[in-house]
């Protein structure tokens, strides 16, 4: 017993510091645990906020599409589409005129005046073809006014409803009752529009007849190559004409009361090919142009950044002397310290100019898309984003290479492999999954980048023309990140446009999440394979 008492004395907790009944150790645990929890709570709040703001979009978009139908805009767009297709055909003709003009001036070496004289017959033909649409055009512009008026009435009604709701919310019932809401009777309002169907049929028939007449007078073009294009034009026009009955049947079967399916609110966003806001006619929230823009810019960036980043990593890890390592590693990592707005500024002021000047150099004219005139385009933004992705890819790929056991390298050398053979056949395959995940994280970095693309991608909201082949990279685009940054400051809070931007944000969030998730899976597999 006597021996045990000093021992038990040693075991007594001598710590005297207590805070809210917690010992010092507990406090430290709470402090660090608290930090971790705060980060996770913030993440959860951000996610919640994103979804809460974005979720309302689909209801509003359905409403948007319903009004589009009920106010008769959809009806008129059938006819308008017909008119737009005709415009496309006239554009084909003006392209053909340009080709003939080039033929006359460059190959036949005619003076400009003579060339124009030779083109007189063709110009006459093209002019007549352009005029054929006149009956339709008059009809469309009349209908447009009428439908806009209906939509305007609906908007006013919605505004009044909102006003009354607000007054009620403020408790001013008397004022609220004084707000007059004029309900819109769509059936009644649409009657004059639908009533034009016979007139349309007549106009369409007239239109069709005129086209046939004009087509019969099509001139013969000077070279076989041009004649092929002329024949192609005739064929396109005939196809166009054969689509007329379909338009009529669309119009006949059209019903303003047909409900818009709920899923269309989603599909019109995901597959929508138009992002058109603050339009006098109809707003469209289709994410495709933005998504394609983001992906194109990222693809160009990765195409440049992967060889640079991985190549530099291999060099630094396997070949460079310690002195070179000391210089290259911090150098590349320093790139990520450049603020993106500075890079964007550099892109506008220097890189965009320089690339355009380069594209106009005559010895580079064989490059697809060169020369080009848009200073800000996919290529400019892609080059700068590549610069931003290089440090990420470089650092992570270098780590992956570093994780390859030295024993692999020694075994390879001991079998008589050269350094290059060892790198290509042993080191890179052994670290491949690490390198892939580095590339994926680089992609995540690129796709989420905002400032550079906002400044340098050209901000034209349109799907780039892929028929141009590789030259597509010289076209301007807009991106998902760019559109949020650009438009968020101007939209009315709670409006459909505001919510649409949030949904774009959600899509971006899921894209990044997916990329990171895949990268993590790849890394996990990599760890197992090294054993």
């Amino acid at each position: 017993m006597e021996a045990s008492s000093p021992a038990s004395h040693l075991l007594v907790n001598k710590s005297r510091i207590r805070l809210f009944g917690l010992s010092f150790d507990d406090c430290i645990r709470v402090f660090f645990g608290g930090n971790a929890i705060v980060s996770i709570i913030v993440l959860a709040l951000i996610t919640y906020f994103l979804f809460r703001e974005g979720a309302g979009f689909f209801g509003q978009n359905r409403q948007n599409l319903t009004v589009y139908r009920q106010a008769g805009l959809e009806y008129i767009d059938f006819i308008r589409a017909q008119q737009d297709d005709h415009t496309a055909l006239t554009r084909y003709l003006s392209d053909l005129r340009l080709r003939q003009f080039r033929h006359y001036t460059q190959e036949a070496k005619l003076p400009v005046a003579d060339a124009n004289a030779k083109l007189a017959v063709f110009d006459d033909f093209a002019g007549q073809f352009g005029d054929t649409v006149e009956p339709i055009r008059t009809l469309v512009s009349d209908l447009t006014e009428q439908a806009s008026a209906i939509k305007e009435k609906f908007t006013v009604m919605e505004d009044k409803k909102e006003e009354r709701r607000q007054l009620m919310a403020e408790g001013r019932k008397g004022d609220a009752d004084r707000v007059i809401i004029t309900p819109v009777n769509f059936a009644e309002e649409l009657k004059p529009i639908i009533g034009t169907l016979p007139a349309y049929k007549e106009a369409s028939a007239e239109f069709s007849r005129r086209i046939e007449q004009v087509l019969a007078t099509a001139p013969v073009l000077p070279t076989p190559e041009l004649q092929v294009r002329m024949d192609r034009f005739k064929q396109l026009t005939r196809e166009y004409l054969s689509g007329f009955p379909a338009v009529v049947s669309h119009l006949e079967s059209w019903d303003y009361a047909k409900p818009v399916p709920a899923v269309q609110a989603l599909t019109s966003f995901i597959f929508g090919r138009e992002w058109l806001t603050a339009s006098f006619w109809q707003d469209w929230y289709g994410v495709i142009p933005l998504l394609v823009g983001s992906l194109m810019v990222s693809a160009v960036a990765l195409l440049l950044a992967v060889p640079l980043g991985v190549g530099a990593a291999i060099y630094v890890n396997q070949i460079a002397t310690p002195a070179e390592q000391k210089f290259i590693k911090p150098g590349i990592e320093f790139i990520s310290a450049i603020p993106s707005v500075v890079l964007g500024f550099f892109g506008i002021a220097v890189l965009g100019q320089a690339l355009r000047a380069l594209s106009q150099a005559s010895w580079l004219s064989w490059v697809p898309g060169f020369p080009y005139s848009e200073r800000l385009n996919i290529l400019t933004a892609g080059c700068l984003l590549a610069l931003m992705a290089v440090p990420t890819i470089f650092t992570l790929a270098e780590d992956a290479l570093n994780n390859v056991p030295r024993a692999f390298k020694e075994a390879s050398f001991a079998l008589g492999a050269t350094r290059l053979q060892t790198v290509i056949k042993i080191i890179v395959p052994a670290s491949l999954s690490g390198i892939i995940s580095a590339v994926l994280l680089g992609l995540g970095r690129v796709i989420g980048e905002t400032m550079v693309v906002l400044l340098c991608a050209g901000n034209r909201i349109a799907i780039p023309d892929f028929s141009a082949g590789l030259a597509v990279v010289t076209q301007p685009v807009h991106t998902m990140t760019g559109i949020i940054a650009q438009e968020m400051g101007e939209v009315v809070q709670g409006s459909i446009h505001y919510r649409a931007l949030f949904v774009v944000g959600i899509l971006l969030f899921f894209l990044s999440l997916g990329i990171n998730y895949v990268a993590q899976i790849v890394v996990r597999r990599y760890r197992i394979s090294i054993g």
Binding site: E410, L415, G416
Partner: protein
């Protein structure tokens, strides 16, 4: 992880190989299993000083390694035996700041540190098996054929033949013949080490260097590797570094004892273990120090 030593292998012409003009044919193509004639010196290590940066690892080491014999290097940790082994195929070139300051190492009369020696060719002739088994993260088949493919062999029949021959040579064929396309990393430790031996003999070297090949293996696997060494000694010259005195006694024909970077004694294995000339050797082999 980065090699910056003045490695010449990428830049050297491959013409001068480690073959003296007088030798009629390389031993690698000599018929295997030929009974070893009276001791013929294959590797001549002559007064070698070796440095890691400023610290000297080998002091004036001289010894002759005989053809088609097993030579064991023993000694306490840090005595320089592995360093000397790695000098024989210039693996030390991969470490920064290493150099042979004095002396020469000749294989069949050719100084392997001469500027015009092709290190790649040297390493094809002097194979190596490491302390920790290090199969590549590839299939068993690809592991064995790696060296041959480097030499440009693509003939499938030839590769198949070498794979079988090497695996039989390493006493591994029966265990893995049904899963040649499985990963080499899926084998047990002992099998992995024998796979590494098979990989080394697939390129038909003259010399096989073994750097503590059994130190990471259990006794059963160790016994198998030792048996293998007995079979290989008829075809290859083997230099083995070991911490296991019994292993040296069992496997080798000649033994060299190193201490503090110096060669203390070099003689027939029987003599080293039964009748050492040097007091330090005796103290070490009898287990009184080291």
């Amino acid at each position: 992880m980065v090699i910056t030593a003045p490695i010449l292998m990428d830049t050297l012409p491959s013409a001068p190989t480690i073959r003296p003009a007088t030798a009629p044919a390389p031993a690698a193509t000599a018929p295997a299993g030929q009974a070893a004639p009276a001791a013929e010196t294959l590797i001549d290590i002559d007064h070698v000083d070796f440095f890691y940066g400023q610290s000297q690892a080998l002091h004036d080491v001289s010894l002759q390694i005989e053809d088609k014999k097993v030579t064991a290097f023993i000694g306490p940790s840090g005595c320089g035996k592995s360093t000397l082994l790695r000098c024989l195929n210039r693996m030390n070139d991969l470490i920064d700041g290493t150099r042979v300051a004095k002396g020469s190492i000749k294989i069949r009369g050719v100084d392997i540190h001469q500027a015009d020696v092709d290190v790649i060719e040297l390493r094809k002739r002097v194979g190596m098996v490491f302390q920790k088994s290090n199969p590549f993260p590839k299939s068993i088949y690809e592991n064995i054929t790696f060296g041959l493919r480097l030499q440009g062999v693509t003939n499938k029949a030839r590769l198949d033949e070498v794979v079988e021959k090497s695996l039989r040579g390493a006493a591994l064929w029966d265990e893995v013949k049904d899963r040649l396309n499985a990963s080499g990393l899926g084998l047990s430790g002992g099998q992995q080490q024998r796979l590494c031996i098979a990989r080394a003999i697939a390129v038909e070297p003259e010399v096989i260097l073994m750097d503590e090949p059994c130190s990471a293996l259990d006794p059963v696997a160790t016994a198998k590797v030792e048996e293998l060494i007995q079979e290989l000694r008829t075809r290859f010259t083997i230099v083995i570094v070991t911490h296991n005195m019994q292993q040296a006694a069992r496997c080798s024909d000649k033994t060299a004892f190193f201490y503090m970077g110096k060669l203390i004694e070099y003689a027939d294995t029987r003599n080293i273990f039964t009748n050492p000339a040097n007091a330090q050797t005796e103290a070490y082999v009898s287990g009184r120090f080291g």
